[in-house]
């Protein structure tokens, strides 16, 4: 069902039909729509545009009166020093984000399969209790979680973040996979059962090979949300530079006291945004599916 939801949102409507009979009023509305869409486009693109043009104006950046114009000559002066600071945190983030996303996806697909196709008495209720975990403010678990990390011996390592993203990713990953598997017809599973296959075998040989798009959706979702996460990072690493990840390192650069160097700050922000932007540019369709699956409408 959620697949339907995503394809509904992404499939452009067949417009050839509308094209034929455009009277004067129709023409007016078409122009009106394009103008409105373009205005919205400018608004949506403005912040990233500002970021890009100011990252090529050198470290101090912005020439106030020409602030919105691209520079007459490109100055990548801010890129070197900023990358120097961000390189280590970026690679650290990449490492932990890959780990947490892969583990999350595996857990999600198993849970999703059970909740969609291998239900037991009370499974809907349990699923609902999982979903609540998606909505909670993480502030409400942060203090005990810090203590748990210390107790479990992972305090002060990057595994605090792997662990947090895996655990608190369970609800959303389960939900995405469950919605995905619900679209698989029951007859397929019934047929396999009639042939004597057990549920585990069905999962392995029938469901998993069909799951690749589901895995892409969940991996992208978890990758993006863990990469962009700031709350867990700042709470669980306590701002320790040894454990700086992309967002906390960025906040260290752009945070108060350093605001004058906009060239520097914009460059750092752009560098940190590049990985998720690339994922969005090339796999945006799957990103949208994740977003819509997360909306609960099965």
């Amino acid at each position: 069902m959620s697949l339907d939801l995503a394809s509904r949102a992404t499939q452009s409507k067949d417009i050839s039909r509308n094209k034929k009979k455009l009277g004067g009023v129709g023409q007016f509305w078409l122009i009106f729509r394009y103008i409105s869409l373009s205005i919205l486009f400018v608004i949506a693109a403005l912040p990233i545009y500002v970021m890009v043009i100011n990252s090529v104006k050198g470290i101090t950046g912005v020439n106030q009166s020409a602030a919105f114009l691209p520079p007459s000559s490109l100055d990548f002066g801010a890129w070197g020093p900023t990358w120097e600071i961000l390189r280590e945190p970026m690679f650290r983030t990449l490492g932990f984000v890959l780990q947490s996303s892969i583990i999350s996806a595996i857990i999600g697909s198993i849970n999703g399969f059970v909740f969609a196709k291998w239900r037991f008495k009370g499974s809907t209720f349990i699923f609902t209790t999982f979903l609540f975990g998606m909505f909670i403010p993480y502030q409400a678990i942060m203090i005990p979680l810090t203590q748990f990390n210390k107790w479990a011996g992972i305090g002060g390592t990057i595994y605090v973040l792997v662990f947090a993203h895996v655990i608190y990713g369970i609800p959303i990953c389960t939900l995405i996979f469950r919605n995905y598997y619900q679209a698989i017809p029951n007859e397929l599973i019934e047929a396999a059962r009639v042939d004597g296959a057990g549920m585990v075998r069905i999962f392995r040989t029938i469901i998993l090979p069909l799951s690749i798009p589901g895995f892409v959706v969940v991996l992208i979702w978890q990758f993006t949300s863990a990469w962009n996460d700031f709350l867990f990072a700042i709470f669980l690493t306590g701002g320790s530079p040894k454990l700086a990840v992309a967002t906390t390192a960025l906040n260290f650069i752009t945070g108060s006291g350093n605001q004058v160097y906009y060239g520097n700050n914009m460059t750092a922000s752009l560098i940190v945004s590049i990985p998720t932007l690339l994922v969005y540019m090339f796999l945006g369709r799957y990103f949208l599916r994740g977003l819509l699956s997360g909306s609960l409408k099965g």
């Binding site: 949506a44 678990i141 369970i170 042939d195 819509l292």
Partner: protein, 316 residues
Amino acid sequence: MAVASLKNLKNLNDGRMPKRKKKVNSPWGGFFFVLPSIIAMAIFVYGMIGWTVRYSFSNRTSAWKKDMSFAGMARYTELLQDPEFTHAFSNLLKFTIVFMIGTLISGLIMALLLEKGIRGEGFFRSTYLYPMAISFIAMGTSWRWLMDSAKGDRATGLNLIFDRIGLGFLENTWYTSIKGSMFAMALPAIWQMSGYVMALFLAGFRGIPDDLREAARVDGASEFKIYRHILFPQLSPTFLTILIILGHISMKVFDLIYGIASKGYVTKVLAIYMWQVIFDFQNYAKGAAIAIVILLMIAVVVIPYLIYVNKTEEAK
């Protein structure tokens, strides 16, 4: 009956399939596969919420005072008398109202413009949605610059645009002055979430069969009436979902404000204040109480919603 026919089918199997031991197809098999996650949720969601509640009832109010003795509602009554808390609370309410209405309207406009299909739809859709892929901390840099409070000759950012296009009266101090700070802060939030709302509306619109519109058109209904009386009523589940999503995101808002204004007083909301209380003042009990307030505000809306979703699920 079903079992019997199943057996017959198995007997009919003429040996092409190797005989296998009977598989565990007990309805409880699935339970064991999700058991680890059930335990994890029980401990790390529900257990830890419980532990945070316990903290909020304690006297552990500073780094050196590791006093977990029971204090009853003391922390909560303190919060009510704490001007900083009530300030953060009213900021959060203002933010929520502007953010929810603004995002709903702009997302709906985007969806209405695209809904019937238009050349270049994919391009516009992707541009409206990209803010969701970038961290608030990164976009905060741009927004801080766009919402620079300098005016007139020294103006940059949006004020400069207003100045240049002769709308100087629109120049303002954005999020830096107490009046209207939360309205300004809602702008980046609306910018970030509108595309998401658009996508939800688009999915909603396209789930409505075209015949419905055609029929209304044949009956001579105007386009406006079609939307008002036929399409919008069909979208009420979509509206509900969007309100829940926006509402809970708003209650939790942290990164977005922190990325732009850090811990500044004028834009302080509950999540920021909680962070400050924990990290700057090491007041775990009070921090826990604030966290529980945020949780309760979300729970009163989300739990009924989940029960409703649960019911419709079971009815399927």
